[in-house]
């Protein structure tokens, strides 16, 4: 299905997505949008693993399973991060990182 498309096209796509995620992580001030930038970064890394597996080492499934495990880690990371964000909102009434300058009330 993907005979005509070069490997470099996929790699450039995931590179651009990765750096867009980093830009969001650097410029956003809201904890939830920073979490969404992290999801973008993890997603681009997943594309990289899968494409390397498909194009370079199709005799194994290692990249496929690594992506599966990264998806599971991303799910648990999002759950814990959102629990922490809700707790922060309950204590500080704000989730902007500029207002969060103390660990304890």
């Amino acid at each position: 299905m993907i005979d005509n498309i070069p490997l470099n096209a996929f790699l450039i796509l995931s590179t651009l997505m990765f750096f867009i995620g980093i830009y969001g992580f650097l410029t956003r001030r809201n904890l939830i949008t920073m979490l969404m930038s992290i999801e973008l970064i993890l997603n681009s890394v997943n594309i990289n693993f899968v494409v390397f597996n498909k194009f370079l080492y199709p005799n194994h499934l290692h990249g496929h399973f690594f992506s599966l495990i990264v998806i599971a880690v991303a799910a648990s990371e999002a759950a814990v991060a959102i629990a922490i964000i809700i707790n922060i909102y309950r204590n500080f009434k704000s989730i902007d990182v500029d207002n969060l300058d103390q660990m304890k009330l």
């Binding site: 299905m1 498309i5 809201n30 930038s37 498909k54 005799n59 499934l61 399973f65 648990s76 959102i82």
Partner: protein, 186 residues
């Protein structure tokens, strides 16, 4: 240009457009929906690569689970019409410069490097092979990562519940009568 090429460039274009919109949109709820489009397009790319199981997992876990979680937390922590605080323009410009420099460096490295694919016969990534490999402890099996990831998920879910729970029994003496849950107590 075949239909496959058109599909790939369509998916790639929508991924790039919507990820840019995700990190630049002022409304948080909209950027969550743009992130959903990015994840669905990524699942489309997995389908193009014939990794159907991975694409299904991407759709259910990412697009179904994480996005719903993020939207719930947005609704819990901010108003729908609220606009996100943006960084100062100076910081945005410098971040964009650093990111562009990194992207150009990485893309130049990718374009110069010569990849040599293996010549061994390919393994079909259908659900039978994936399921066998996931629970097999032979040389190409992934039983140990599978068990480790299940324990990690369990621990993360228990931790998330404990973290997000209200701690109302810890400081009972500081709030005399204003507790709406049990107004009968003195």
């Amino acid at each position: 240009m075949t239909l496959n090429d058109i599909m790939f460039y369509l998916f790639a274009g929508s991924i790039l457009t919507f990820s840019l919109l995700t990190v630049t949109s002022r409304r948080i709820l909209r950027s969550a929906v743009y992130l959903l489009f990015v994840l669905v397009s990524t699942a489309g790319i997995y389908f193009m690569l014939n990794y159907n199981f991975l694409a299904a997992v991407q759709l259910t876990v990412y697009a179904g689970g994480i996005i719903v979680l993020i939207i719930f937390s947005i609704l819990l922590t901010s108003h729908v019409s609220e606009k996100a605080v943006v960084a100062p323009v100076r910081q945005q410009i410098f971040s964009a410069l650093a990111v562009a420099a990194g992207a150009i460096l990485t893309i130049l490295t990718i374009v110069k490097f010569v990849f040599t694919p293996t010549t061994s016969p390919a393994v079909d990534a259908n659900v039978t092979n994936v399921g066998r490999a996931l629970v097999s402890y032979n040389r190409d099996g992934f039983a140990l990562p599978f068990e480790v990831i299940s324990i990690l998920l369990l621990a993360a879910m228990v931790g998330a519940i404990v973290l997000a729970k209200k701690e109302k029994h810890l400081v009972p003496s500081n709030e005399p009568n204003t507790n709406p849950e049990n107004p009968s107590k003195s």
